[in-house]
């Protein structure tokens, strides 16, 4: 016992070093915007409403921040995905086995973008070097969504190159995310945009795939948008100038934004524009600031939120939902800001997607599209869910700008996880609903309410076998596997991680990850490193096993037997040198004699019960890193016993000898492992369930009776 103080000191030192209560690191102080992006754009674009065309010029300054001389530049020409059926996008749509994310346009509705002129600032023409490249596999020969030009001489490290482009685009009748319907426009992924040059790897510039989003460098944008007079315009960034041309009947509006990696806008002559301000001092109470600071281990000043100008562009038919939109956006700015860091831009523009432009539920820096219906139900968190999600992308993708082509989970999974947390905090569970002839059933019937993480899990467990979460977006089995893996499964894994680490450690890990990679391009490995660092544990196994594989995770109880310990064993025994056989009859005789003895008041009956619980690992996935599987057994006398199992084998049999029978046993009693595909087998009750199943039977029979009676009405 004398070395106990030394052990204590060692533990205390370890606790200090690896304590989950370490503060969230603020490597990159939130609120600040780095002044020198890789790119600068100045774009002039004019909307030709009758011809459904865009015509524009684009001036780019690209700085080579690597240590390599760069001989060329690759551009995304995303709208060429909608040019013909040979594009990678439409080839993948044709091969899709579940839900295609678009269908081929009707005649005359195709869209495209042409770079009609491209030259260096000194006038040297790069046009002759233009070529379309296809580097993703399988190679789709007809795709024209990636353009390469070669420089006369390589751009040296630290140098910059200035280019001037002219382009014209046919605006597609909406296929996916961008396009027009009548005179409503949503214009996203519309300008020739350089890929991201990665040192040692070259240009990262993927084709426009059916199941993928985007990746680009941070840039300063100035965009002059010319539209017919009378059109309302919503755009990324802040409006800095406006001028009208009475002769041509146009208005040119200038929007600017520093340090964003994309720029989208919409135009519609019918839209309403409403502006409000998020006031950090009003929306967050002093107590909430203090609690957040304590949770994150930061000073209160570090979590204070700045004011943000909120701009809503909404269709007149949704006028009655203006407050609903702002309330959701306010909640999103508040909680994302408190948890991950203040929103760093002056404005956020929320666009109610123009009717039939297919642009709903999409994120762009400082602008996102929501999505609602004409008859929203009160208890259903729509449009709230999409607003909180898409604003959240302003953090996960907008600020922490992962490569969505290659690691979509990093923004979609984290945003889905975050959305669930914000909705739960701001609204509580939302009612489940679906529409019947356009009418949400929740506005008629009482529908069950459910939190996002519950529905996420229900979806997630169904796609584990198809692909790892860590799969390039266009390589998933189908659109369902892509969607459910990178959104719901990734979110379920993060919710599991939160339960494993505790709310505080998880909050600090997320804050640290965000702060460290704000205005950066992190990859999965960076996230894992931050989690390991903040938690003080090596959780690499967690990501490998649950997200980097397609292994089913399922621990459960194989059996539970609880019976009185026999007082006597059968067979032949040595007794004072004699062989005595304990026969069934002799045992019964002795037991009846013992039962006949009076039991003194207050004394235990003396009976013992042996409970045997067999734990099983039904799935292939395993807990690792010394994290055990927890088992709790409850006994009829009200006591409980907890045991830990390393979970490595296929099964383990645990025995408990107690003065009482077991009433139930449960694996993972704290509900940590949301990823477990079978929670029904996590517990075993000795007495069968009656009431719950009676309820189920009653509802089941009632449903069948009604279906049958419906059939009867036809006969």
């Amino acid at each position: 016992m004398k070395d106990r103080p030394a052990v204590f000191l060692l533990c205390a030192l370890c606790a200090l070093l690896f304590s989950p209560s370490r503060s969230a690191a603020e490597d990159n102080p939130p609120g600040s915007v780095p002044a020198t992006p890789v790119l600068r754009y100045e774009i002039r674009v004019e909307l030709d409403d009758p011809a459904k065309m865009l015509r524009g010029t684009e001036e780019i300054v690209w700085t080579n921040r690597t240590r390599e001389a760069v001989p060329d530049m690759l551009f995304h020409l995303y709208w060429n995905a909608f040019k013909n059926s040979d594009s990678t996008f439409f080839r993948e749509v044709a091969e899709e086995t579940l839900f295609a994310r678009g269908e081929e346009p009707k005649d005359g509705d195709w869209g495209w973008v042409d770079v009609t002129d491209i030259r260096l600032a000194d006038g040297r023409d790069l046009g002759p070097t233009r070529e379309f490249v296809r580097r993703d596999t399988p190679v789709r020969d007809g795709d024209q969504t990636v353009l390469r030009v070669r420089f006369p001489e390589p751009v040296k490290p630290g140098d910059n190159v200035r280019l001037r482009l002219e382009f014209r685009s046919k605006i597609p009748r909406t296929v996916e995310r961008s396009g027009h319907y009548k005179d409503s426009y949503f214009i996203g992924q519309w300008f020739p945009k350089p890929g991201v040059y990665e040192e040692g790897k070259g240009w990262n510039c993927h084709e426009y795939h059916q199941n993928s989003e985007f990746f680009a460098d941070f840039a300063d944008f100035t965009v002059h948008i010319t539209v017919p007079q009378g059109f309302e315009v919503g755009s990324s960034g802040k409006e800095t100038a406006r001028s009208a041309d009475g002769v041509r009947g146009t208005v040119t509006r200038t929007f600017s934004q520093a340090m964003v990696h994309d720029f989208a806008w919409m135009a519609d002559p019918r839209y309403l524009k409403v502006e409000r301000t998020f006031l950090g001092a009003k929306e967050v109470s002093p107590r909430e600031y203090r609690e957040t600071a304590a949770l994150l281990g930061l000073p209160v000043e570090a979590v204070r939120l700045p004011d943000v100008r909120m701009i809503l562009l909404i269709a007149p038919e949704h006028r009655g939902q203006i407050d609903r939109h702002f309330k959701a956006l306010t909640a999103a700015i508040k909680y994302y800001g408190l948890w991950y860091g203040p929103y760093p831009y002056e404005t956020v523009t929320m666009v109610d997607p123009p009717f039939r432009t297919g642009s709903g539920g999409m994120e762009y820096p400082t602008l996102f599209t929501a999505g609602t219906g004409i008859l929203p139900a009160t208890d259903v968190l729509s449009p709230e869910g999409v607003i909180v999600h898409e604003f959240g992308h302003g953090y996960w993708y907008g600020l922490v700008a992962n490569n969505e082509f290659e690691e979509a989970w990093l923004d979609e999974g984290i945003t889905t996880y975050s959305t669930g947390r914000v909705l739960a905090r701001a609204y509580g569970p939302g009612a489940f609903s679906f529409d019947l002839a356009g009418i949400p059933l929740a506005s008629i019937f009482r529908m069950p309410k459910v939190l996002d993480h519950v529905t996420d899990r229900a979806a997630a467990i169904n796609v584990v076998a198809y692909d790892p979460v860590f799969t390039e977006s266009w390589r998933f089995y189908n659109s369902g596997s892509y969607g459910l893996n990178v959104y719901q499964r990734a979110s379920t894994c993060l919710n599991t991680l939160e339960r494993l680490l505790g709310e505080q450690v998880m909050a600090r890990a997320m804050r640290t990850f965000h702060a460290r990679y704000r205005f950066g391009h992190p990859a999965t490995g960076d996230f894992v490193r931050v989690v390991n660092e903040v938690s003080g544990q090596d959780l690499t196994w967690f990501f490998d096993e649950l997200m980097g594989s397609s292994l089913n995770f399922d621990y459960g109880i194989g059996s539970l037997v609880s019976e009185e310990k026999p007082g006597y064993s059968r067979g032949v025994f040595d007794d004072d040198g004699r062989k005595v056989e304990m026969t069934e009859a002799r045992i019964r005789e002795r037991e009846s004699k013992e039962r006949a003895k009076p039991v003194q008041e207050g004394s235990a009956s003396g009976n013992e019960y042996v409970t045997t619980v067999t734990l099983r690992r039904f799935g292939e996935a395993r807990v690792r890193g010394g994290v055990p599987v927890k088992l709790v057994v409850a006994f009829e006398d009200g006591t409980r016993e907890t045991r830990l199992w390393d979970g490595q084998g296929r099964w383990a049999r645990l025995r408990f000898t107690r003065p009482s029978r077991a009433s139930w046993a449960m694996v993972d009693p704290d509900g940590v492992w949301l990823v477990d595909s079978n929670l029904a087998n996590n517990s075993f009750l000795v007495r069968p369930v009656r009431r719950g199943l009676l309820r189920l039977l009653a509802r089941l029979v009632f449903a069948v009776q009604n279906i049958l009676q419906l059939a009867a009405s036809f006969s």
């Binding site: 489940f432 002839a437 019937f445 079978n678 719950g692 309820r695 029979v701 009604n706 009867a712």
Partner: protein
């Protein structure tokens, strides 16, 4: 005879035949138990000893997600089981309709299981022929009529400026389909009534006579049908509202909610009897 007195007569006639209602209810319940049995057995195997089963919610996403995961491969078999059951019950209902209408029109005789099932057997083949004749009419009402309306209003939907237009068209299409459905129901109800009331041995002739009967008083006949339908919908609305305030957890669930559900089924069956009885009353009043 007025529409309202026929409805009153129908309500009275249906209410005077509790044994018919009881037989229909028992048939419905037994059949439903048979259909639900395998699903219940599956749930029991899954949840019979699980804490999840004890706390099962009305729409339990935790368990439903697992159910889909474990049994997605047997979905076609489940669908076939349900479709087969529904089809079988439809035929059973054809059989039971004979007994129902037979007893409703017999104002003097007692209703016993023997008289009921004797009527079922007597009219079964004629009613089955009517059922087969009705099938294409249902396809027309639920498929062709809405499709025709969609084609007619296609340009309106194509050029809609807001979501209100397709919503209104969708509602209109649904309403039209329901009205067409009510017409088919009504015509074939009168044909069944005619077969029983006139001991008509030909399903086709009964159908022709029903059409002729309704041709002379179409709007009154349809009004009667729609009034009863509205009464049924009102009752359903009240039941839904009551269900919304009833507890769905705890001990009271068993006593109140289960009883409430079964009362609603009785109401549905009674409403169907009212349809038959009121139309029979109207038919007799107009015929004689």
């Amino acid at each position: 005879m007025s529409v309202f007195s026929s409805i009153g007569g129908g309500v009275a006639a249906a209410s005077r035949k509790p044994r018919v209602l009881l037989i229909l209810y028992l048939m419905n319940l037994i059949f439903a138990l048979l259909v639900a049995g395998p699903f219940y057995a599956l749930a029991k195997a899954d949840l019979g000893h699980s804490l999840l089963g004890r706390n099962l919610q009305a729409l339990d996403f935790v368990w439903l997600g697992e159910l889909v995961y474990r049994y997605q491969n047997v979905a076609p078999a489940v669908a076939a089981w349900l479709m087969g059951s529904v089809l079988l019950y439809a035929v059973l209902s054809v059989f039971l309709s004979g007994g129902t209408i037979g007893r409703l029109l017999d104002t003097e005789g007692r209703t016993t299981a023997q008289t009921f099932f004797s009527d079922c057997g007597r009219y079964f083949w004629r009613f089955l022929r009517l059922f087969l004749l009705a099938l294409p009419c249902y396809v027309l009402a639920l498929g062709a009529v809405p499709a025709a309306l969609s084609a007619l209003l296609g340009p309106l939907i194509e050029n809609a400026r807001t979501a209100w237009t397709p919503f209104a068209v969708s509602l209109g299409r649904t309403a039209l389909a329901l009205l067409a459905l009510s017409l088919v129901h009504m015509v074939f109800d009168y044909a069944r009534v005619r077969i029983v009331a006139e001991a008509d041995r030909s399903a086709l002739r009964a159908l022709g006579a029903a059409l002729a009967f309704l041709g002379r008083r179409f709007f009154r006949g349809w009004g009667l049908y729609l009034l009863i339908a509205m009464g049924f919908l009102a009752g359903t609305g009240i039941a839904a509202a009551l269900a919304g305030v009833l507890p769905d957890e705890g001990l009271s669930f068993a006593a109140v909610s289960i009883a409430g559900m079964q009362l609603f089924i009785l109401f549905r069956l009674w409403a169907r009897m009212v349809f038959f009885a009121a139309q029979a009353d109207y038919y007799k009043g107009g015929h004689y």
